[in-house]
């Protein structure tokens, strides 16, 4: 049943329904409401979990690492500087193949200090070995948590995952969300059954050191597991659709794509604004479409290349920038389309909470049609 609630509350509730056994997190804007709600649920007995209070994000994820290695379903949430502080632990978690789920309420990275939204934080961890899901709205943000656990805990995958949703823009927005019942959540997400776990009675070490003779092979295997996770994501998303009517089997999702000549590629909440703009442009006779990327890691190159086959111009919206190069999404899209001859233009947009309006999307479409791109959108005139 649809209920209207704040995005953070919906996510916290979905996490509760996933029955994590250990939660460790450190509050940081705009993630705070999620972990406050979870701490309250644990204190009130609504969530049977250990909530470990810690003094930093580094400790939060380290506590999760230990708990997950000991065989618990484990959860954390963070954003921005908090995620940056977890950098080292993120690589360890993935290397040890621990299926921790972490919500990222996407926020810009300082300096200058900004509490507002972009996707620089999670994008900057793209090389760490975590799966990365991006939600367009709060319905998707909640649903992706169940799917993330299903995929991450799949014995063929055994990798951690970020569920990313735009800070403030989604986390602080009230909108209708259809929540699963506990029985449905349990039906979809069975108890975590680790293949191996830390146990004093049967000792084992995780993440032992690897000499130069073996390190390369471990990286190869982790990369392979991440790439092969695509089939697990497809299956988990399909099954979710069969059970609850919302199909997440596709890693990329088209909107008005069939005959589209100019296709916008985007991730996260910006997709809603793009869809409304496309409806207007379609009425004006413009053949514009959207390809939404739901899963950024593993990157769905093949699906993306297939979906963009008929495009004349591809306009990528990047809420991040790899300084000195381009937006991270555009670089991946260019790689996926290499050799196709389809031009790909990059637009850096909405950094640090700059509001993205329909007129900005119209500007992007107009620029792409003229063959102009690889630029920032909406810059103040004084810097030009």
């Amino acid at each position: 049943m649809l209920e209207i609630t704040e995005g953070s509350m919906a996510v916290a509730d979905a996490v509760r329904l996933c029955r994590p056994q250990v939660v460790a997190a450190y509050p940081i804007t705009p993630q705070t409401h999620i972990v406050e709600a979870l701490a309250e649920m644990v204190a009130n007995g609504k969530l049977d979990a250990d909530y470990i209070t810690v003094e930093s994000e580094f400790s939060a994820l380290s506590a999760c690492l230990g708990a997950s290695a000991a065989g618990s379903r484990t959860y954390s949430a963070t954003t921005s500087q908090g995620l940056a502080l977890m950098f080292e632990v993120c690589f360890n978690v993935a290397g040890m193949r621990l299926p921790i789920i972490m919500t990222i309420a996407n926020r810009a990275l300082g300096a200058p200090l900004s509490i507002w939204n972009d996707q620089q934080d999670s994008i900057s961890l793209r090389d760490s070995g975590w799966l990365q899901f991006y939600a367009e709205d709060n319905q998707e943000a909640t649903d992706l948590h169940y799917i993330a656990y299903r995929v991450a805990e799949n014995p063929a995958v055994q990798l951690p995952a970020f569920v990313c949703f735009d800070g403030f823009i989604l986390s602080h927005t009230y909108e209708p969300v259809d929540m699963l019942s506990q029985a449905d959540a349990d039906r979809y997400l069975p108890k975590y059954a680790p293949t191996e776990r830390l146990d004093a009675a049967d000792p084992i070490s995780f993440g032992m050191y690897a000499t130069p003779e073996y390190y390369l092979e471990f990286r190869y295997e982790t990369d392979k597991a991440l790439k092969e996770a695509k089939s697990a994501i497809h299956a988990a998303g399909k099954e979710f659709g069969e059970m609850f009517g919302r199909d997440y089997s596709a890693m990329v999702e088209g909107y008005q794509l069939e005959d589209a000549e100019t296709v916008i590629v985007a991730m996260g909440s910006i997709c809603g604004t793009v869809k409304d703009t496309i409806d207007e442009l379609r009425k004006e006779g413009k053949k514009v479409g959207l390809l939404k990327i739901r899963v950024f890691r593993p990157f769905p190159s093949e699906d993306l290349a297939k979906a963009l086959k008929g495009a004349k111009h591809v306009a990528v919206l990047d809420k991040n920038i790899s300084l000195g190069a381009k937006g991270a999404v555009a670089l991946e899209v260019k790689d996926a389309l290499y050799g196709s001859g389809i031009p790909v233009y990059d637009y850096i947009i909405g950094l640090g909470g700059r509001d993205v309006q329909k007129k900005d999307i119209r500007e992007v479409v107009a620029l792409a049609e003229k063959g102009k791109g690889d630029q920032f959108i909406g810059l103040r005139k004084e810097v030009l």
């Binding site: 293949t195 000792p203 070490s205 092979e217």
Partner: protein, 83 residues
């Protein structure tokens, strides 16, 4: 060799790795001089010196010479080993 997922490993046994062959100098214990103070046993990084008259287990002794260095009675001499 198949790699363990996540570089996970069961604990090995130090006893399986006989390090005595690393040795260049061999400690020779003079029981006449020894006062059985136990310093050599405490200091031995390999933990291979046993109680009684403190004698090393040459199967594991790497010949580091710490016992000879610390012995208050100078009862341990490091002799080059013929190989």
């Amino acid at each position: 060799m198949a790699l363990a997922v996540g570089c996970r490993a069961r604990p090995g046994k130090g006893r399986d790795n006989k390090t005595g062959s690393w040795r260049v100098f061999k400690p020779i214990f003079d029981h006449e001089q020894c006062s059985k103070c136990g310093t050599c046993q405490t200091i031995c990084p390999e933990g291979c010196i046993t109680e009684g008259f403190f004698d090393p287990d040459y199967a594991y002794c790497k010949g580091c010479g710490l016992c000879a260095e610390e012995c208050p009675k100078d009862a341990i001499a490091m002799k080059q080993e013929e190989k």
